[in-house]
């Protein structure tokens, strides 16, 4: 072990700089770049990320470990770790692990149900369009992309109006004699909130799934059919196992933002009965004296979502590396 290290070091010292450069150049197939050349491409982006992504996060930490202004109750961040006080942090942490637990559980339940519904519908639609779209694939694709072109808030607003007591949904239900009185969909009904989440996020799931399924080698599936396997069986034995990575990736894509979503819920319900984690965050942001709380909630959410985030990043990196 130590011998090998010694050998490497000595070989390096023996090698002149010129030789090393020549070797590297040979490795690159003859082209030569100054050493600073490629790093200079990456530098602005790296610097940007350091100042505007890492630093803001540090400010959040400094607020979580900081204190508040005695008059305005606004946060006073403490930037030096040696001055950090964990008092506010522990107090807020008690809330996060105490009073807020029902909200956290509810959020988890809503998100899991909504993502599951998203997955079932999105997979079916993506599968159909990819496999059977045929000549109409372009049209289908246009319709699937359409929701991206209209504001998310507008899509929610259109549901708010449809679900009014005198709105078209109730009119339809009454016309079909499915309900004698208009249903108050917007009065804190969990179903409405979950439906809103599904409606809002499903386009983000269909497209990646379609992107994947469209590229699955169809000869593989033809083979299954030629051999007489039922469509269901071909699907279960061939397509589904193949699409596992795509499913997981698209699940992560819709699940992560749902955990921070407050507006869907605010517009479609507004009742404490359906309060979600994102609402806690937004409410903390909008009120006096809650700076430390907002910071702690942000840190909590980040840690909670770390595993799915890292999973997604690993998958992305792996896919890139393997190509």
């Amino acid at each position: 072990m130590s011998g090998r290290r010694f050998k490497r070091v000595s070989s390096k010292t023996a090698e002149t700089r010129k030789e090393a450069r020549a070797r590297k150049r040979a490795q690159r197939g003859g082209a030569w770049y100054p050493r600073w050349y490629w790093p200079s491409f990456a530098a602005p982006g790296t610097l940007w990320m350091l100042v505007l992504f890492l630093l803001p996060f540090y400010v959040v930490v400094s607020i979580a470990f900081g204190t508040v202004d005695p008059i305005f109750q606004s946060p006073l961040p403490v930037y030096e770790p040696w001055w950090w006080t964990s008092k506010y942090l522990t107090e807020e942490w008690h809330l996060v692990t105490g009073e807020f637990v029902p909200v956290e559980v509810r959020t988890l339940v809503y998100v899991v149900i909504a993502s599951a519904i998203c997955l079932v519908i999105a997979y079916a639609v993506a599968y159909y369009v990819a496999r059977y779209g045929g000549k109409r694939k372009g049209l289908f694709l246009g319709l699937l992309v359409a929701p991206f072109f209209i504001s998310y808030l507008m899509r929610m607003l259109s549901w708010v109006e449809l679900l009014q007591p005198a709105g078209y949904v109730n009119k339809l239900l009454q016309f079909l004699h499915l309900t004698p009185h208009p249903i108050n969909w917007l009065a804190g009904v969990p179903f409405t909130v979950v439906m809103g989440l599904v409606y809002g996020y499903i386009p983000y799931m269909i497209l990646p799934l379609f992107g994947f399924l469209d590229r699955v080698d169809s000869s593989l599936l033809e083979a299954g059919r030629d051999l007489g396997a039922s469509p269901m069986r071909t699907f279960l034995r061939v397509t589904l196992p193949l699409s596992k990575p795509a499913i997981l990736a698209s699940l992560v894509i819709v699940t992560l933002p749902m955990f921070g979503d407050y507006y869907t819920n605010n517009l479609l319900s507004g009742s404490p009965k359906t309060l979600m984690f994102g609402n806690l965050l937004d409410n903390a942001m909008e009120s006096t004296g809650q700076g430390p709380q907002a910071a702690v909630l942000v840190l909590f959410l980040t840690f909670f979502l770390l595993i799915p985030m890292l999973y997604y990043m690993r998958e992305t990196a792996r896919a890139a590396g393997e190509r």
Partner: protein, 446 residues
């Protein structure tokens, strides 16, 4: 985009456990904390006005709780704020070709009033809106935004003056306050000698209800009409405001507590329990537009209501007919012992056009302009000429009476400010306690 203030979006608080610790910190460390913090935060990150300014403090008043950076104004303990600088001199010419910068609640001022002002004084205007006073304070404290007029509530006045965010007024530019406005506001208890503020609108907080579903007699006949919000008959159609002061005050009043600025943890706990009960009993929701949008749309049968919202709601029915107008009613305690408030107009310390700003204040104190504004936003101005008879019989700018005869309860009179209960400034610590209650309600915590 027509209409009343899209008011105060939800604030939140800490847990109750937290409160004691924080109030202790605040009490012990008000002067010294800032110094400690100055030592441990980077230079330049120090907030404006952390600590009483000047040796004598921001003002004088009988009620100055320990730990409070400023005296608290109460009806029986008026406050005279010190002049932290002299008002601008009188007789200055109005700034020419200026753009009047207005900082206001969303949908809280009739643009026609502003436009007429600008035609008269040959200026432009820009209106910037805030959703709640927290947001407004935070943005004003950065010092980056320069406004000429700012519309705060009474309960942040101490902070504004202590932090020197608003400037003293030069009375000679605002003659119409003396000639046209309620007696109460000639020398208001929250700002003796109206050194920093003029009143904007006056309103009570009661209950708005669907008269076609709940006859007037029903609600008036109840022994405690506040309880109608908890009536299971209106489950899913009962609402309160997404405003911690108004909604908690409702719960206090329902419980028979008349101090709407209470520091009592017991009273506040009871209020919190009641609010939380409302969630399970009637699936109560908290929002801002529930009265003027929600009731006409059929989303609510009963809703906690600022009188201005109930008055302005006529505008939002599907059709502009009396058949619809008559469907909304407003209840307020008949002994007139209830929640009554007024909003303010002030001039920020860094106003770019202070003379024009004073002229605008005066403009809003004139009867014609005040009533034109009222026609649109439903919030009554404290105009002496606008008595009950005038308000119910004279048509507004849109051809209906300022206040429909069946909504007389919504009229605010000068005497209401003597019998009524006001939501006033709290110490930062007590304010956190109130926020806690609201946060617990929002999270559905028992």
């Amino acid at each position: 985009m027509a209409h009343p203030r899209e008011r105060r979006v939800p604030p939140k608080g800490l847990s109750r456990r937290d409160f004691l610790r924080r109030s202790a910190v605040a009490a012990a460390a008000t002067p010294s904390l800032a110094a400690i913090l100055a030592a441990c935060t980077k230079p330049g990150t120090q907030p404006v006005g952390s600590g009483p300014s000047g040796s004598s403090g921001p003002g004088t008043g009988k009620f100055w709780p320990a730990g409070s950076p400023y005296p608290l104004a109460r009806q029986d303990a008026p406050v005279k704020w010190n002049l932290w600088q002299d008002p601008i001199p009188s007789g200055n010419p109005i700034e020419k070709g200026a753009t009047l910068q207005i900082y206001n609640w969303a949908d809280y001022i009739n643009l026609a009033v502003v436009k007429k002002f600008c035609q008269h004084y040959n200026c432009n205007y820009q209106i910037t809106t805030f959703n709640n006073t927290d947001e407004a304070l935070a943005k004003m404290r950065t010092g980056q935004l320069k406004f000429d007029v700012f519309f705060p509530t009474i309960d942040i006045l101490g902070k504004l003056i202590t932090a020197k965010l608003i400037q003293p007024l030069q009375h000679s530019y605002v003659p119409h306050l003396v000639s046209d406005v309620f007696e109460t506001f000639q020398n208001p208890f929250y700002d003796q000698g109206w050194r920093y503020t003029v009143p904007y609108t006056i309103y009570t907080t009661g209950i708005a209800y669907r008269r076609d579903i709940i006859p007037d007699a029903t609600i008036n006949g109840m022994s405690n009409p506040w309880e109608i919000l908890a009536d299971p008959a209106y489950k899913g159609k009962s609402g309160i405001y997404d405003d911690y002061r108004s909604s908690i005050s409702m719960a206090l009043l329902k419980n028979g507590i008349k101090d709407l600025n209470t520091t009592s943890e017991k009273d506040l706990s009871a209020a919190q329990a009641y609010l939380t009960d409302l969630i399970s009993a009637v699936n109560i929701r908290a929002d801002i537009n529930g009265v003027y949008i929600g009731i006409p749309k059929g989303n609510y049968d009963v809703h906690l209501s600022w009188s201005g919202d109930a008055i302005g709601a006529y505008n939002y029915w599907p059709k502009s007919t009396y058949a619809y107008y008559q469907k909304i009613g407003y209840w307020y305690p008949s002994d007139r012992v209830g929640d009554v408030n007024n909003d303010l107009i002030t001039i920020p310390a860094n106003a770019p056009h202070p003379v024009l700003a004073h002229a605008f204040l005066d403009w809003l104190m004139t009867y014609d302009m005040a009533m034109l504004n009222f026609s649109w936003n439903g919030y009554q101005p404290p105009q002496r000429q606008a008595d009950v008879a005038t308000l119910t019989t004279t048509n507004n700018a849109y051809g209906v009476p300022y206040i429909f005869p069946w909504m007389k309860e919504a009229i605010v009179t000068d005497s209401d400010f003597k019998t009524g209960l006001l939501e006033l400034e709290l110490t930062p610590a007590t304010d956190q306690l109130w926020h806690n209650v609201w946060q617990a309600f929002q999270a559905g915590v028992k």
